[in-house]
């Protein structure tokens, strides 16, 4: 801001100085080489760079619409929870045993706290006059280490997530019984027995003629599981998708299990 003369004369009762401050820009003559006026020479170049970037950005937005998955469903336990990519390094760090559970203080405050605290206080931690990276090896080395760490953790988190996704889409969750694996193709001529038709809560997912839907097709379930196994599944469910305890009466469960086991 320009300094006003102490003996400035003012016009009338206004605070605007009658003396015009000459419009001279500050000089960069301390710096060597060719300087250039910001307005309009440099700004024009800046705008050209910005325009090129904007075109590239718009091509990205047109070719890659932003993703939108299904509406949020807190009960969808099969959805792989993952933070946005620039938080992945922190997420990954907290997965390691030495940085989670009893040691979570290290994962939360220890490493990121010290790293971001040091970043904030960098001007005081690295207070020397020297500016070249090669002349201040500690600061440069620490920053490079942090960069390698962040890149590695982000990569590791992404790698792990891809593996899990691949596994989920293959459908071979090791914990689930074989019944959930390969659903038999639906047979349209198949008609379920009255024992099945009485079970409204089962039909929602497995279909009114056992043809499947949200849940697997059960038209030939008897060829894979016996009555005892089926009864167990009805009672306890199959995590994550199938709830157990939908039928309370043991005799009814047995009747349904016997019927399903007879389907070969």
């Amino acid at each position: 801001m320009a300094k006003q003369d102490k003996d400035a004369t003012f016009v009338g009762d206004s605070r605007v100085s009658a003396k015009r401050i000459p419009n001279i820009s500050p000089s960069y003559s301390d710096f060597p080489g060719k300087t250039e006026p910001f307005w309009p020479n440099f700004l024009l170049k800046e705008w050209m760079v910005a325009a090129v970037c904007l075109v590239g950005f718009l091509i990205l937005t047109v070719s890659h619409p932003s993703p939108l998955t299904d509406k949020a469903n807190p009960n969808d336990t099969s959805f792989l929870p993952l933070p946005d990519w620039y938080f992945l390094f922190l997420y990954q760090l907290l997965k390691y045993k030495w940085a989670s559970g009893d040691w979570v203080v290290i994962g939360i405050l220890g490493i990121p706290g010290i790293a971001f605290g040091a970043l904030m206080l960098a001007p005081w931690l690295d207070a020397g006059k020297e500016r070249r990276p090669s002349k201040r090896p500690v600061a440069t080395g620490l920053m490079l280490t942090a960069l390698v760490g962040i890149f590695y953790l982000t990569w590791a988190a992404n790698d792990e997530a891809q593996h899990l996704k691949h596994k989920n889409s293959a459908g071979s969750d090791p914990g689930t019984p074989p019944a959930a694996e390969a659903p038999a193709p639906a047979e349209s001529s198949f008609t379920a027995d009255a024992v099945w038709k009485a079970q409204q809560s089962c039909m929602g997912c497995h279909g009114k003629d056992l043809e499947g839907g949200m849940g697997p097709n059960l038209q030939t379930i008897g060829s894979k599981l016996d009555a005892a196994q089926i009864a167990d599944i009805i009672k306890n469910g199959v995590p994550p998708a199938m709830p157990g305890g939908m039928i309370k009466d043991d005799a009814e469960i047995q009747k349904l299990a016997d019927y399903l086991a007879s389907l070969k």
Partner: protein, 223 residues
């Protein structure tokens, strides 16, 4: 004509010093990519600001359609994405811009760090810059929930779990953000308010401080 209008305003408001700070200054050779191509690293700060402006403008247009409640949030985003003319482009600009602004800011931070530009007398500007970085991360975190799809929901749950595990203040911070026991209706409106009002207000103040300091201190000299 323009000169006359300028003079007329200047006579009354003395805008010349302001104009000088804004535009009438020189750009030294060592930051000008036209002279040294390697000086393109000095562009990242400006590009960060450029994308921030894109974020502000596209975000303003998004709020014309977005409804911050758990019944309608997802539907309104879906409608914007699929039905509204250019809606998918505006949303994509905001979505990809959010990532790009982080990338650009990261590169800008590294440029400032490795050129040692944070040293005396520019310590305060560095601190303000780091605060801007945190605000941007906050904007990214709160904005990610708003579409209310599965990706958003579970990402936020994970994020809040991380916040919860901070010793002492963690549970309070989590409660402040979720507004209840579960990630639900309260959480969405809180994240919306934080994303659209609180953090942008902080961001504007910090950006203003950042730019005023650059102008009053000038750009750091060549290495």
């Amino acid at each position: 004509m323009l000169q006359k209008m300028y003079d007329w305003v200047d006579e009354r408001l003395n805008i010349t010093p302001m104009w000088r700070d804004l535009a009438d200054h020189e750009v030294p050779e060592h930051v000008n990519p036209a002279h040294h191509f390697s000086a393109f690293v000095y562009c990242f700060g400006g590009l960060t600001f450029f994308i921030t402006v894109i974020q502000i403008l596209s975000g303003m247009f998004l709020t014309m359609y977005y409804v911050p409640d758990i019944i309608n949030a997802y539907e309104s985003v879906k409608y914007l994405q699929n039905e509204v003319a250019f809606g998918s482009i505006v949303r994509a600009m905001h979505h990809w811009g959010a990532s790009l602004v982080i990338v650009m800011m990261f590169l800008h931070t590294l440029r400032v760090f490795f050129t040692g530009a944070y040293k005396k007398p520019r310590e305060l500007n560095w601190v303000v810059g780091v605060l801007i970085f945190f605000v941007m991360l906050g904007l990214g975190f709160t904005g990610y929930l708003l579409p209310w799809d599965n990706t958003a929901y579970f990402a936020t749950k994970v994020g809040l779990q991380i916040a919860d595990s901070v010793p002492l203040i963690g549970p309070y911070a989590k409660m402040l953000l979720t507004g209840g026991e579960i990630v639900g209706a309260q959480t969405l409106t809180r994240f919306f308010a934080i994303h659209v009002f609180f953090l942008p207000a902080g961001l504007f103040g910090l950006l203003a401080a950042h730019f005023v300091m650059i102008r009053s201190q000038g750009i750091s000299g060549p290495l």
